[in-house]
């Protein structure tokens, strides 16, 4: 069970959280201008890396805040948690 460092509450058991999938996927500003393929890309396509992954978590049974986490999908290590209004702490090429 992961120990997730909520930026607001500190480290808490995974059982207090729910998972939100890959982070930094912005909803298109004008969905109706997108092709079906572009809309499908927003909806369904994810990077699914083996390694560092930026993802959304919700402290559902705590402060009820969404935030982002950098978690390694191979080792499950978590190296950072950051608020939605913060920039990712590691550069893209470190992922």
């Amino acid at each position: 069970m992961l120990l997730i460092p909520c930026p607001w509450c500190g480290p808490r058991d995974e059982s207090e959280f729910s998972y939100g999938g890959e982070a930094h996927i912005a909803r298109p500003r004008e969905p109706e201008s997108l092709s079906d393929a572009e809309w499908a890309d927003y909806q369904f396509m994810r990077t699914n890396p083996c390694g560092w992954h930026r993802e959304q978590w919700l402290h559902a049974h705590g402060c009820r805040r969404w935030f982002n986490v950098e978690r390694n999908t191979a080792t499950y290590a978590i190296r950072a948690a950051y608020r939605l209004d913060e920039a990712p702490p590691h550069r893209e090429d470190a992922l």
């Binding site: 069970m1 909806q43 919700l58 009820r64 805040r65």
Partner: protein, 987 residues
């Protein structure tokens, strides 16, 4: 009572304290300090179980967690435990044990053994594949003959505890390495938990004649335990298995608090599940001796060498007087010494051509040591009576009478806990086994589980591991002193790798790799012949290492044999993945007290007790208990629902509507939020008005619906479905936080704050007036789909005119604590109007007569609002969640299933929900599917049965006759109609 195999003296059992127990109906006696296994051996019991597939007689093989055979059913009734390893079951007065499979002596299915050659791996899959569909029939015959153990015959009467704990250093295993590690870490100031699955700390020292610091090893153990027990930051957990090592320092432990006590004397919880977050973990789990495979190597009386040593030294039990020790390494010479000291005769078959100094010393003492030899096969059926011993070159062989075979094929470090969190393994060529490689930083293995067997080295390694773990957390290093040792047992040195003995001269005999699952060498050979290469695939095909055994005893040997068969080396073949749990954990321990009423909170409305008193039946909607219907004496559910339906049409029907989800939405951007999450327009909704809305996910699928009222300029109250309230709140919060943080909107769940009475029927206005209100009830002043704030019966109230039934309806919401009072007042004053309580079933009928959907019943994840005919609710003016998906070509198809009504030709026939719609059920299969029924009732107000359904291109098919087909109800003719049945009254 005699214990024929009990030695006169020696061991840790107390001969002054006899303990009576029963095995398979026979009265027996052991001593305090025995396990069930040692007591059975002392009593001369050879066969303790039957094997799962072939029903071969099986005896005790090991002395701990690795035991594959002695899985016994402990005690009877609701508290019985199936598949308990006798080797880990402490004996208590009155314990009753029986085999988990078959009967030990006269087993009705013993003939299965003769079929062994005809039942290789995959036998069931290959044999019972045809004719198609017959597996269910075969299964009825096969299942009763298979399986381990018997289920309890009632709910578990025991209670189970759960505890969360944090520590700096968790030490798994309380042998010499674990004790040293715990003390080193604790002396450095760390908070330490030391857990060991046995009742007594000491691990391998419990069966050792080593001396530590000049005294017996157990004196040293006791001193260590005493020092640890006196330290306030140390928690000692005997009888506690560390069963799982999970991510981020989370470790699962199960403490067996009551299993060693007679059931009637148990107090408090039977087991306790410890959920530990440890910052550092020291694994000191020891090692497991592995067998060498030979013909009929499953005969009772063939045991692991270390088990024989343990039974002699720790329990004072000599499992046989005429022993053959079969080894390929030095460690079994401890068994030779123990057997001789106990008075047994010993012949050693040592696979090594030059067995070395220990063998030479044994020879000098007169032991017959045969170098380069192996046990090729065993003889005897219910107990070994002889073995064929031959040299590995198969030049010579000889039959030796014996009543005990002690086998040592080397040792496998217990890397399980290390592997649970993907700790890497390294192949140790001296041991021919995987050992832990440096893995996750917070985990260290020490002692035998790290491949170190020399006692002095183990003591030093434990001390250093404990100090390093504490040091990594910033505690001052305090390496515990490494004491002097003498007389320790030989380490498994000078190993000659031998996985299986050559075939015996008398021909093939079944040679078992996995005793618990009846997997033979020939099964592995078959798997390889059939093309399996990965050890993971071989495992799954042959079922080697399945079940509660998890390959603790046989997996490395099995992998070694597969490597030989493939012509590869074991390092390349590798091992299967070790996963939690190390040993089985009861469901009781995992569930703890989260049972029955503590499983999930129950939510009752303020009027709940009234419903109970009125004889309502209830249904669960999410966590809520909702009144389902209110039968009068003698009424069926059908009668009650029809009466309740008609009351809303003719008098007043009263519904407890308090469970509906309510989200208070405030802020300057509240309307913008509504615009984005609902499909329709909200900007022009005036204060005091309300509107129905449906929300979609980004796939364009409805996720919830309900009415939202505008209470003020920047203040809305959103109603959700009862079961959807939490989900909708989370949905709104997610979008506000992740995508629209610039919106200034505040959401508050107010579901529990309000009690709501929904009063429906022609006299509902009269009743609200009679209750007394300062709200103008005139239809001009308070029209349909409006909301007003004021007072009702002197209580602050919100009045809303919305309706799912089509009847004149007033929804009266008051602060929750007034709910019951107002409800009772309404029934008091409503009596002249025929006020009638109704429940969720009537609610469903009424809404269905109106053609209103229930999201999740009439819809699923494939249905769009276009399919539902909700085009008028889809705004062209704005974007909303899911809108883009509605433009996808597939959602635009005209022949998609569309929401329609159905009228059965017989107005009394109710079509089963879920029935399939076809044109002609007598067509040749596959019959084309035209749709399916989503809701179906008898509509009392319309005086006939009706249904809602999804029908392909249904909106163009009104008037068409279809057949609803259901397995039980058969064919029911129906006519497709518009999804609306009830004509609401005017006003």
């Amino acid at each position: 009572m005699n214990q024929p195999r009990r030695l006169e003296q020696g061991g840790l059992v107390d001969r002054e304290r006899p303990v009576g127990f029963r095995f398979d109906g026979r009265e027996m006696q052991g001593y305090a300090g025995d396990t069930l296994a040692s007591a059975l051996l002392a009593n001369g019991v050879n066969v303790v179980n039957r094997s799962i597939k072939l029903h071969r007689p099986r005896g005790i093989v090991g002395h701990g967690a690795e035991e594959p055979n002695a899985l016994l059913q402990i005690d009877r009734g609701a508290a019985t435990l199936p598949d308990r390893r006798a080797t880990q079951t402490e004996l208590y007065e009155g314990l009753e044990a029986r085999p988990a499979v078959g009967r030990p002596e006269r087993d009705p299915a013993a003939a299965m053994g003769a079929l062994s050659p005809f039942m290789p791996a995959g036998f069931y899959y290959k044999t019972f594949m045809s004719p198609r569909g017959w597996w269910e029939r075969y299964e009825q015959v096969i299942r009763p003959a298979a399986g381990f153990g018997y289920a309890p015959d009632g709910p578990d009467p025991d209670i189970y505890d759960r505890r969360n704990a944090h520590c700096d250093v968790l030490v798994a295993g309380g042998g010499p390495a674990g004790l040293q590690a715990a003390l080193s870490a604790a002396r450095g100031g760390a908070r330490v938990i030391l857990a060991d699955e046995q009742a007594r700390f000491g691990g391998g020292l419990l069966a050792s004649e080593a001396r530590i610091d000049g005294g017996p090893a157990l004196v040293w153990v006791d001193a260590m335990v005493a020092e640890l027990a006196a330290m306030p930051e140390v928690t000692l957990l005997p009888r506690t298995a560390v069963f799982g090592n999970y991510d981020h320092g989370f470790v699962g432990l199960v403490e067996r608090l009551g299993d060693h006590v007679p059931p009637q004397q148990r107090t408090g919880p039977r087991e306790r599940y410890w959920r530990v977050r440890s910052r550092q973990l020291v694994i000191a789990a020891g090692a497991i001796e592995r067998p060498i495979v030979f013909g009929n190597n499953d005969r009772p009386g063939i045991m692991m060498a270390s088990a024989v040593t343990t039974y002699i030294r720790r329990y004072g039990v000599l499992p046989g007087r005429k022993a053959v020790v079969f080894t390929n390494n030095d460690s079994a010479y401890a068994t030779v010494a123990a057997l001789r000291a106990a008075g047994a005769s010993v012949v050693v078959a040592d696979a090594r051509e030059e067995p070395g100094a220990l063998a030479a010393a044994a020879r000098q003492q007169g032991v017959d040591v045969r170098a380069g030899s192996a046990v090729l096969s065993a003889h005897g059926r219910k107990h070994v009576t002889a073995v064929t011993v031959g040299d590995l070159a198969r030049h010579r062989h000889e039959r030796l009478d014996c009543d005990l075979v002690a086998v040592s094929g080397g040792w496998n470090p217990a890397v399980h806990l290390h592997s649970h969190i993907r700790g890497p393994l390294r192949f140790d060529h001296d041991l021919a086994a995987p050992v832990p490689a440096p893995g996750p930083e917070h985990v260290r293995s020490a002692g035998a589980c790290a491949g170190r067997f020399d006692l002095a080295e183990v003591l030093a390694a434990g001390a250093h591991a404990g100090a390093a773990a504490a040091g990594a957390l910033g505690f001052e290093g305090a390496v515990a002193a490494v004491p002097d040792t003498q007389g320790a047992d030989p380490v498994p040195g000078a190993l000659r790798v031998l996985w299986r003995a050559p075939q015996p001269p008398e021909g093939k005999a079944p040679a078992f790799v996995d005793l618990q699952n009846d997997v033979k060498t020939s099964d592995l050979a078959l798997a390889v012949r059939e093309g399996y290469r990965s050890i993971e695939h071989v495992k799954r095909y042959s079922i080697m290492g399945f079940g509660t055994d998890q390959g603790r005893l046989g997996n490395i040997v099995g992998a070694g044999i597969v490597a030989e068969l493939l012509g590869a080396d074991l390092e390349t073949v590798g091992t299967t993945t070790f996963r939690p749990a190390w040993t089985p954990v009861t469901y009781g321990a995992l569930a703890g007290e989260e049972l029955r009423e503590l499983f999930q909170p129950v939510r009752n409305t303020p009027m709940h007790e009234w419903h109970v008193a009125r004889g309502a039946t209830f249904e669960d909607v999410g966590q809520w208990k909702r009144a389902w219907y209110y039968p009068r004496p003698g009424e069926s559910m059908d009668d009650a629902v029809r009466r309740e339906c008609l009351a809303t049409q003719r008098g007043i029907g009263a519904l407890d509507y308090s469970t509906l989800g309510k989200i208070d939405i405030q802020g300057p951007d509240a309307v913008t939020l509504l615009e984005r999450v609902y499909t329709n327009n909200w900007q022009k909704l005036a204060v005091g008005r309300c509107r129905y809305g449906i929300m979609l996910d980004e796939n364009g699928t409805p996720i919830d619906d309900g009415v939202t009222a505008r209470l003020g300029e920047q203040h809305y109250l959103m109603y959700t479905t009862t079961g959807g309230a939490a989900r909708v709140l989370a949905w709104l919060e997610r979008w506000l936080q992740t995508e629209w943080p610039q919106l200034e909107v505040y959401l508050t769940s107010v579901t529990d704050h309000w009690a709501t009475l929904s009063l429906a029927g022609p006299y509902s206005r009269d009743l609200v007036r009679d209750l007394g209100t300062d709200v103008d009830l005139d239809p001009q002043a308070f029209p349909f789909m409006s909301v007003r704030e004021g007072h009702v019966a002197g209580i602050p109230a919100r009045l809303q005119r919305s309706s799912f039934s089509g009847e004149l309806t007033f929804e009266v919401s008051v602060p929750a604590d007034y709910g019951l009072w107002l409800w009772e007042k309404a029934f008091e004053l409503g009596e002249p109007y025929g006020i009638t309580p109704y429940g969720t079933e009537t609610m469903h009928v009424l809404r269905a007569e109106m053609g209103f959907i229930i999201v999740g019943q009439d819809t699923d994840g494939s249905v769009s609002p276009l399919d539902l005919g909700m085009h008028g609710l889809l705004s062209n003016r704005k974007d909303f969640l899911g809108k883009r998906s509605l433009a996808r070509p597939d959602f635009q198809r005209e022949d998609r299933p569309q929401f329609v009504g159905l009228q059965p030709e017989d107005p009394e026939t109710i079509v089963p929900e879920g029935a399939q719609l076809v044109r002609n059920p007598d067509q040749t299969t596959p019959v084309p599917l035209e749709g399916w029924v989503t809701s179906s009732y008898y509509g009392a107000r319309i005086g006939r049965s009706f249904a809602l359904a999804m029908v392909n291109g249904g909106r163009e098919r009104y008037g068409e006759r279809l057949i609803a087909w259901d397995l039980d109800a058969g064919a029911i003719p129906v006519t497709v109609t518009a999804p609306s049945f009830y004509e609401p009254p005017q006003g």
